[in-house]
């Protein structure tokens, strides 16, 4: 369970670093770094992140889940993805 969550976190972190934080020191992006409220992801990059997660894990997000409440940190993202994988 924890392994799976770590794996999701690592993959999501790699995607965000590559797409939205090119050249950033990976150590600066923590599991708790605010993504939406911290200005790392704007509305368009959030939509792209959701597309990546859906394609990678074969899951689907509801419109209300594409929000700060559910996606603001790597931790929250990994939790939500894992919930979706568990319920599918």
């Amino acid at each position: 369970m924890a392994d799976r969550q770590n794996e999701i976190t690592t993959a999501t972190k790699a995607f965000i670093l590559k797409e939205f934080l090119p050249g950033e020191d990976p150590d600066e992006l923590l599991d708790t770094t605010p993504l939406l409220s911290g200005g790392i992801l704007d509305s368009i990059s959030t939509v792209k992140l959701v597309g990546f997660l859906e394609d990678t894990y074969g899951i689907e997000f509801q419109a209300h889940e594409i929000s700060e409440d559910h996606l603001d940190t790597l931790q929250l993202v990994a939790q939500l993805v894992q919930e979706k994988l568990g319920s599918s």
Binding site: G23, E24, D25, I40, D42, S43, Q62, A63, S67
Partner: protein, 513 residues
């Protein structure tokens, strides 16, 4: 005639018909909207708002914000709407520059705005001091000032702020007559009526909202409000368009391109759509082609016009969009209510087909910028015959299908439909305490239209991480102005007069300084 009469006439004709629907689905009839606006106008008057006064509105998209717009005008004033999600010091600057007499703010934002207004007053002895005057229905709070009244023209309807090259937004003044000439052109051009259901996607501080609000309410239709968060989310927008049976859609191409790519439009029945109107920037043809295939029932119009003129040229896209077409559609021919001309630097007409600056005059054209006589003077070409020509700054050339947009002659760019002066982005980035030099350029980008690239120089060893820099931007800049790319350097290339050399910047690599 005033814009408020559009609502009043519709309310008299069909008081029970639904005028507006909130994002959550709450409906308000024409009769109730007019009555509530009248009551709020009474409250504004009783707190000193009168003809020629400006009323600041810092409100999220809601029924309350529509009521406040009409109330401000019914009280005799003009409304000054700002982005409720923008940095507060930008909003207080706009309110200060426009000399607003009163501000209507949502209760949730009231404390933060009051703190920002107090900070602005402490920093500038000429700044007006605001205090809470009344709690109003629909969770609104009214702030007023005791500063000396400075009434503006009594026919002023609203002031929309656009990005200013010096770092300070500038306010475009539009009168009732300006707006009505545009609304009447719309009503003559588009076959719409009480059965139509209009999207209200653009925020009210953006000029696309003028068509949404006044064409729908003036023709007795229903305006469906789309809140800011939903408006940015293609996944939420696509079902809303279908379920709320929208018949008229108006937005920037950016959001339509996002809908095409991420909205899963094929899952939702949007067959009620009759018109898809877009404006504000160039629509990439491949996304437009896909959209017309997914939404085949609608007619598609490219509308063009800066805030200063509202829509002044238009072009209907002939369907189907040919598979081999790549070049963007033209901005088209002049609307019936304006005169247009392509002029050279000196204000002389250019020969047909040659590129030049598109200039506009006529009933919808602004009288100028609020309190900025020099900016106003430089925005117009004086002429011996008739009214002066407003200079759009857009370079166009003529074609059989009307004008074709060919670029800008200054440092303004369009991003997600918003006008952005790169100078304002530079001025905002300069506020970072460790920055020593900043220069910003725009680069063409296939999906985003343009990307903003910032070249930054930092004091010794003080360069922040990209994450910290983005957090700084999120606090300092409206979302549409945040650079896409940062490039860090020891110093920036200069011209012989020691100004930043923007030509050489473009060829500069990304130095990992």
């Amino acid at each position: 005639m005033r814009l408020t009469e559009l609502l009043e006439r519709s309310a008299a004709r069909a008081p029970e018909h639904v005028a507006i629907e909130s994002g959550a689905g709450e409906g308000l009839s024409y009769g109730a909207l007019d009555r509530q606006a009248e009551e709020l106008a009474h409250a504004l008057r009783s707190h000193g708002v009168g003809p020629g006064d400006r009323v600041g509105l810092q409100l999220p998209k809601s029924i309350a914000s529509v009521v406040s717009i009409f109330a401000s005008m019914k009280a005799g004033g003009a409304y000054v709407p700002v982005d409720s999600q923008a940095p507060l010091d930008r909003n207080t600057t706009i309110f200060g520059d426009c000399g607003v007499r009163a501000i209507v703010v949502g209760r949730a934002q009231c404390d933060a705005l009051c703190a920002a207004l107090t900070a602005a007053a402490a920093a500038d002895e000429h700044a007006a001091v605001f205090s809470v005057a009344a709690e109003l229905p629909r969770d609104l709070v009214l702030l007023t000032t005791d500063a000396e009244r400075q009434p503006g023209p009594p026919d002023l309807a609203y002031i929309l702020s656009t990005s200013g090259s010096t770092g300070r937004p500038k306010g475009v003044q539009l009168t009732h007559g300006n707006a009505l000439s545009f609304v009447h052109w719309c009503a003559d051009t588009f076959d719409v009526g009480p059965d139509d259901r209009f999207s209200s996607h653009a925020p009210f501080h953006f000029d696309l909202s003028i068509l949404d609000i006044y064409l729908s309410l003036g023709t007795g239709g229903t305006l469906v409000l789309i809140d800011e968060d939903t408006g940015r989310q293609p996944r939420a927008l696509a079902p809303l368009i279908a379920e709320r049976r929208l018949t008229v859609w108006y937005s920037t191409p950016s959001i339509l391109a996002l809908l095409v790519q991420h909205g899963r439009l094929e899952r939702h029945d949007a067959s009620a759509l009759r018109y898809v109107l877009f404006a504000g920037e160039v629509f990439p043809v491949r996304h437009l082609r896909t959209l017309t295939e997914l939404w085949p029932t609608a007619r598609y119009f490219n509308l063009y016009g800066p805030t200063e003129t509202n829509v002044c040229t238009f072009h209907e896209v002939t369907l189907p969009v040919p598979a081999q077409r790549h070049e963007p559609y033209p901005i088209g021919h002049a609307c019936a209510h304006v005169e247009t001309r392509v002029l050279d630097e000196r204000g002389a007409p250019v020969p047909g087909g040659t590129a030049g600056e598109l200039c506009v005059r006529g009933a919808p054209v602004t009288a100028g910028y609020w309190n900025l006589p020099e900016r106003t003077a430089s925005a117009f070409h004086a002429t011996d015959e008739g009214a002066p020509w407003y200079r759009t700054g857009d370079i166009v050339h003529g074609s059989a299908d009307g004008y074709v947009f060919a670029g800008r002659q200054d440092r303004m760019v369009k991003r997600r439909g918003y006008r952005i002066e790169l100078g304002e982005v530079e001025a905002r980035l300069h506020r970072h305490p460790d920055v020593t030099e900043v220069a910003v350029i725009a680069l063409p980008h296939e999906d985003d239209g343009v990307q903003i690239k910032a070249f930054m120089c930092w004091g010794n060893g003080s360069r922040p991480s990209l994450i910290k820099l983005k957090a700084f931007c999120a606090n300092e800049l409206p979302g549409s102005m945040v650079p896409d790319v940062f490039s860090h350097h020891e110093s920036l290339p200069k011209t012989s007069t020691d100004k930043v050399d923007y030509q050489r910047l473009r060829s500069l690599g990304d130095d990992p300084a």
